[in-house]
Amino acid sequence: MINSKKGLLIALATPIIALALLAGYKKYILSVGKEVTLSITGYDPRDLLSGRYLVYTINYGIGGICGGPAYKHKKPGYVCLEPKNFTYHKPNNCETMIKGICNRGGFEAGIERFYIPEGEARKLEDLVQTNDASIVLSITRNGKAQIKDLLINGKSWRDR
């Protein structure tokens, strides 16, 4: 369908530009967001495209997250960390909030995975389960959260 030089150049450049923008956006969230550390518990599955990762439950220190009437479908939710609160609508007086989705009674904010090197997977899984593990997040003002680091007993997993 594409038969011109210009068309081919656009077709080839589009994915490179889009991927660069995606990586840049992720980097931007890390640099501008507010840093927050939350404790976790977890285990180790595998993703075909990106390798091994830890999936964990984040302890937000708030009761009743995604509670109330059982919703049949996925629904947006907001966890406010300062002051601690959960709501299905965007909170007005919240210093730091995380935007996510309530799915089958659980809260998902796209921060429930930490990708780990293949060789370290088993050791890290054991460490997370037998020690105090937490994740360091970078959270933007509009509630977009991104993972910065994984801590084992308060130290980065890389520095163990």
Partner: protein
């Protein structure tokens, strides 16, 4: 002895062509560049294998390499492959162009995986596939062969299928039920095939989307029928089928406006489209008779077979005839029960199949010509 050699010997024996002409044809066929499809096939296989190897390497998540260096190498490779593809196209090297294009498109998917790994994003595989298919749609359109568009169409349709089932945006519409999603996806594929045909002619992307329309349509019919096998008749309401209606209407419009088909062929396609929508709505009207589903699938396969015969697509026509035969066999099992009756059923079915094969073998030319004549 190759098929061509056998045909040439037959033609020479029947005085249709001379010995000299047969030799000239053999020489022409042996030395023309079309034999490069073998080379192309192996090169594509090699490129695809290297691409999967790169995905695996990225997935291993090398601890000793800094994230910035991983991203730098990844983007350098992307730029090198894109530049290579461009220069291969400019220097008119079609095979090199296609091999570099397949490597590029696979590396784009691997790059999404790498970015996801470095920034620990919690996205699903279907989200990665959708993003990949959106950003590489132009690359698939640039391909002159069918492999790159086929890979692209597969990723796009799988991505959109799982998005329809899992995404919060679509869950209130489809309510996580496979039946309305299965009905809608082949219609999206059909509409895209019509658009590609209109914009770019009979290219690889049109062929890939058309193949997926047929495959997806057949799978969707099986899913519609499985609703009944699972003894579940759930009325999802009209809203779940609304996206399907929109795509069906647009597809019908595309068929109506098509310049490729004769009037009778358009009617056949529209009839197939209409019949295709019917079995998905049986739960709505509490129709749970197996015979109703069977009637619909037999009618769809038959109209499609006649349509394909009218286009002189003999191989596809024969595939649909086989599917029709299998559907009749399944219908027989559905209609009967018990070991004795099933035993008799199998004997009768086997006899019917053998009889059908004999009749087909003896009269296939007449049957195909008759089917072609239906729409002349």
């Amino acid at each position: 002895m190759s098929r061509l050699d056998k045909m040439l010997s037959d033609w020479v024996a029947n005085d249709l062509i001379s010995d000299e002409q047969a030799k000239k044809i053999t020489n022409h066929e042996n030395y023309k560049p079309s034999h490069s499809w073998v080379l192309y096939g192996f090169l594509i296989l090699g490129a695809a294998t290297i691409g999967i190897g790169i995905i695996s390497l990225i997935a291993a998540n090398w601890n000793g390499i800094p994230d910035a260096l991983k991203l730098f190498v990844d983007f350098a490779l992307l730029i090198a492959l894109a530049s290579g593809s461009y220069f291969a196209w400019e220097k008119n090297k079609p095979i090199v162009f296609e091999v570099l294009l397949i490597s590029f498109i696979i590396l784009c998917l691997a790059s999404i995986g790498l970015i996801s790994q470095i920034y620990h994003t919690g996205g699903k595989l279907y989200q990665a596939l959708l993003l990949w298919s959106i950003i590489t749609a132009g690359v698939a359109a640039a391909s002159k062969r069918s492999f790159v568009p086929f890979i692209w169409a597969t990723g796009f349709l799988f991505g959109i299928t799982f998005a329809a089932l899992d995404s919060p945006a679509f869950q209130p519409i489809f309510q996580k039920h496979g039946s309305p999603v299965a009905m809608t996806i082949p219609l999206i594929s059909a509409l895209l095939a019509i658009i590609c045909r209109r914009l770019g002619g009979e290219g690889g992307q049109t062929a890939a989307l058309r193949s997926w329309t047929i495959t997806g349509g057949l799978v969707a019919l099986v899913i519609a029928e499985l609703q009944l096998w699972r003894h579940r008749s759930i009325d999802l309401g009209i809203a779940a089928y609304l996206p399907g209606y929109v795509f069906a209407a647009l597809t019908a419009l595309g068929i109506g406006m098509s310049i490729d088909y004769k009037k009778a062929q358009k009617y056949l396609l529209l009839a197939t489209l209409g019949l295709y929508l019917v079995p998905f709505h049986f739960p709505m009207f509490e129709i749970q008779h197996k015979i109703s589903y069977a009637f619909c699938s037999v009618a769809i396969l038959a109209t499609m077979a006649v349509f394909l015969a009218s286009l002189k697509h003999r191989k596809l026509f024969q595939i649909f005839l086989v599917a029709l035969g299998i559907r009749f066999l399944v219908l027989y099992f559905q209609a009967l029960g018990g070991l004795a009756t099933t035993g008799f059923g199998l004997i009768i079915s086997g006899t019917i199949i053998i009889a059908m094969v004999v009749v087909w073998n003896r009269y296939r030319k007449e049957i195909t010509t008759w089917a072609e004549g239906l729409v002349e």
